[in-house]
């Protein structure tokens, strides 16, 4: 049994093909740090995070956001085995980065907000529902190897 139906895969891939992954990555990570400022705890070396403007224009935030979303994008290519696709990253986030998995859920929902912001009415309830499944699946896969 597939994680997403054929229709949901179509909706996700259809939209994702139009996404500027590098830009959206920076935007999503930036908004995570603005809207949920306690998440800044993982990025003490990133320099000026003192205001929304500072965060959104911070080059380290943009670079890291790009990295994160490219990884997410790679994961989408293995949508039926997200746990396998993110196994190594899961171990990294637990053992080296010590990130509470709740943060994966927060970032996933911020990404959904950014997609809604960019795509407007095209990001309709059915497209959103498919993406909510994807971000939940990725968050769960990233938490899977925690111990």
């Amino acid at each position: 049994m597939s994680f997403l139906s054929a229709e949901e895969k179509g909706l996700v891939n259809g939209l994702w093909g139009k996404v500027n992954v590098d830009e959206v990555g920076g935007e999503a990570l930036g908004r995570l740090l603005v809207v949920y400022p306690w998440t800044q705890r993982f990025f003490q070396s990133f320099g000026d995070l003192s205001s929304a403007d500072a965060i959104m224009s911070n080059s380290k935030v943009k670079a890291h956001g790009k990295k994160v979303l490219n990884s997410f994008s790679d994961g989408l290519k293995n949508i039926d085995d997200l746990k396998g696709a993110f196994a190594k990253l899961s171990e990294l986030h637990c053992d080296k980065l010590h990130v509470d998995p709740e943060n994966f859920r927060l970032l996933g929902n911020v990404l959904v907000c950014v997609l809604a912001h960019h795509f407007g009415h095209e990001f309709n309830p059915q497209v959103q529902a498919a993406f909510q499944k994807v971000v939940a699946g990725v968050a769960s896969a990233l938490a899977h190897r925690y111990h």
Partner: protein
Amino acid sequence: MSLTKAEKAIILSMWGKISTQADAIGTQALERLFASYPQTKTYFPHFDLRPGSAHLRTHGAKVAAALGDAVRSIDNIAGALSKLSEMHAYVLRVDPVNFKLLSHCLLVTVASHFPADFTADAHTAWDKFLSIVSCVLTEKYR
């Protein structure tokens, strides 16, 4: 968690625009809620929840109206929503986890309708405002 002056100003100014389509926004948020989180439909066995239904439109309008009340009394949201808070605690008893889900869907709806206004600061202001509303609605639960 409370709203700063700047955040209140953002909410008030954006509500001016949102209120012209408040019913549609409330309705779409519910549509998104039921599509993304089907378990939330368990609270509405008596409703026709198909997109476009009269039940959805009426209920969406109610949700929007309550948000409007909260915006208009932004310095005393607990006071403005006191009756609604009692209703949720003693009659509706919607599990608290669901307020986060509806809040997220409201945020997504606002983001998709008002791209120019939904800056990172506005995103924060609305997330906080909806979080406060959710707190008020669950504060009498036990």
